[in-house]
């Protein structure tokens, strides 16, 4: 695991509320569900948006920024042109193809540079330095539903896993009880968002891709000390696949805490910047409420 501490340092005790919402693939409704949960859970529970690539939880929870700080999550190489003799030694050793020749000058492409130091070590004139690079802002907000920690990643920046870890860390210092909107996928960022959460809620949908991605993301959760739960969103789009997912969950020991029907209210809610749970009579809101009750039962160990 590259960019973060894999040790559970959160000190969360087992019946505390610490839940990360994840999905193997994007677009399954993860953030919509998290936003509704954020309205249902206790105000004291800190909400953290660890989907740094697409940090959208704040769009719905709104609120006012109370603190914003730059996060240095990477380094990049910088060549001092006054010292460089254009020997090409840096370009030779860079495995990331990050050194370009522009008008016969050697220039580092920040988007590609991983800050690995190879060029620095290889430069016979000491003309290269690694400098710190800000990879995003970490933002603390006060919202109607309590504190929210979110971020603004600089697009294209290295090490989103590190920024995720920072958002999680800041959240956990506010309160060990957290509700986290996790990252999609199965790479470093999702591992960083699941770390230290007692429960992980996998949001899946009844499609072939949804099914395959759920299995992949489960393998991640299985490696952490986090109890996997699942919810099938838009389950009625394809009930056969939904049943297949249910069977697979049963086989893997994932508890299904909810099944949410397809409901156009969801998009309406997103576009009105409201959590769908506020549309009380909608099919989706009713199902999300039920899901929340089931999650509480699991946490309380019933």
């Amino acid at each position: 695991m590259s960019d973060f501490n894999i040790i559970n340092t959160s000190g969360v005790s087992k019946n505390e509320f610490s839940l990360t919402v994840i999905s193997g693939k994007g677009g399954t409704g993860k953030t919509t569900i998290t936003a509704s949960l954020a309205h249902l859970v206790d105000k004291e529970i800190v909400k953290a948006d660890c989907d740094v690539d697409a940090s959208n939880l704040g769009i719905i929870l709104e609120g006012e920024t109370i603190e914003q700080s730059k996060y240095v999550g990477a380094k990049v190489a910088l060549i001092d042109q006054a010292m460089c003799d254009q020997c090409g030694g840096c370009k030779d050793v860079c495995r990331y193809d990050a050194v370009d020749i522009v008008n016969s000058k050697y220039i580092v492409n920040n988007l590609k540079c991983e800050g690995c130091n190879a060029c620095v070590v290889n430069c016979h004139l000491d003309a290269i330095k690694l400098i710190k690079e800000v990879t995003g802002d970490v933002i603390k907000k006060d919202t109607k539903v309590g504190k929210l920690v979110t971020s603004k990643m600089i697009p294209g920046a290295e090490g989103s896993g590190k920024l995720v870890t920072e958002v999680r860390r800041v959240g956990k210092t506010e309160n060990t009880e957290t509700l986290i909107d996790g990252s999609p996928g199965i790479g470093c960022a999702v591992m960083a968002s699941v770390t230290g959460s007692n429960h992980s809620l996998i949001v899946t949908e009844p499609t072939q891709s949804g099914f395959e991605d759920m299995k992949r993301v489960y393998e991640i959760v299985a490696n952490f000390d986090s109890i996997p739960l699942a919810v099938i969103n838009k389950y009625d789009i394809n009930e056969e696949v939904a049943i297949k997912i249910e069977k697979e969950c049963e086989r893997l020991g994932i508890k299904i805490v909810g099944k949410i029907p397809f409901d156009t209210t969801v998009n309406e809610a997103v576009n009105n910047l409201r959590p769908v749970i506020e549309y009380k009579d909608s099919k989706a809101a009713i199902a999300i409420n039920e899901m929340y009750q089931n999650i509480l039962k699991v946490i309380e160990g019933e």
Partner: protein, 280 residues
């Protein structure tokens, strides 16, 4: 021509659009969305070769190592630790950059490839199909994407499916592309993520245009922004339960007559733009 399909957020239908366009034109298809490669579900390729993909990790020859600590000091990823008795390598932290072997004056470091995932190579219909698959629990996706891209013959017609988001994996995928199609959806989330994607393609100076998937009465959320930024809207695909159903069954949209016409038009509109290599 090399056309990359990306989306600021996942689930906008990037793979739906890219696979259908590839199929219609018989273009090669490269799946760089290595954390969730789903193109094969729709294109149903025959795979005839699997290549291991990975990075080089250092191996320390203890007989030669003097514990001078140069490698530990220079490694930026905390992958080397000096225990006082030996240098330990933490492979899963290692980015395979080679800095440690460059630092070692005693010739004590060799490098051995460690597998991170695999690249499958095959065919669908008559075109090439390549997909990268990152092993679960491996944090480094970029090396697998690089291995997929090595198989691209730039002189042919290629469709590349990018990972979602805007992090380093997307930058790697976008490198050397002739044109980018940004697939979005008409929601506030879609807009917020689209803006990030636009930032990246502009930064990388790749000509691009937008496709609105699940087009609805809310399209203005996206089109207002496109107008204000003078961004080219290539086309729209309407929202329908039928589309969702076809997707869930792993079927191509063009199997449906109505969508066939739409994709045909969309495909022509994309190719026209790539040919003109217009910059927007």
């Amino acid at each position: 021509m090399n056309i990359v399909f990306l989306s600021g957020k996942g689930g906008t239908g990037k793979t739906t659009v890219s696979t259908n366009i590839a199929y219609l034109n018989g273009f090669n298809y490269f799946d760089c969305d290595v954390e969730e490669p789903n193109g094969h579900i729709f294109l149903k390729p025959v795979i005839n070769e699997t290549i291991d993909s990975g990075v080089l990790n250092p191996v320390i020859n203890e007989d030669k190592c003097t514990l001078c600590n140069a490698c530990v000091r220079n490694c930026q990823f905390g992958a080397l630790v000096n225990t006082g008795k030996k240098i330990m390598v933490f492979n899963e932290l290692c980015h395979g950059c080679g800095t440690c072997s460059l630092s070692c004056k005693y010739d004590a470091i060799t490098e051995v490839k460690r597998t991170l995932g695999k690249v499958e190579v095959g065919t669908y219909e008559k075109a090439k199909f390549v997909r990268g698959i990152l092993n679960v629990k491996e944090p480094l996706a970029v090396p697998v994407i690089k291995d997929v891209k090595k198989l691209i013959n730039k002189e042919e017609n290629n469709i590349i499916d990018s990972p979602p988001g805007t992090s380093c994996t997307v930058v790697e995928t976008l490198e050397d592309m002739d044109f980018a199609v940004l697939v979005t959806e008409p929601t506030r989330f879609g807009l917020s993520d689209l803006k990030m994607a636009v930032y990246v393609v502009r930064e990388m100076k790749i000509p691009f245009g937008i496709v609105i998937n699940r087009s609805s009465q809310d399209d203005h959320i996206i089109t207002d922004y496109l107008k204000s930024e003078n961004i080219d809207l290539i086309g729209k695909i309407p929202y329908s339960m039928k589309a969702a159903r076809l997707y869930s069954e792993g079927k191509m949209m063009i199997e449906d007559e109505e969508f066939y016409e739409r994709f045909k038009k969309l495909s022509e509109d994309i190719i026209k733009r790539v040919d003109n290599n217009e910059r927007f």
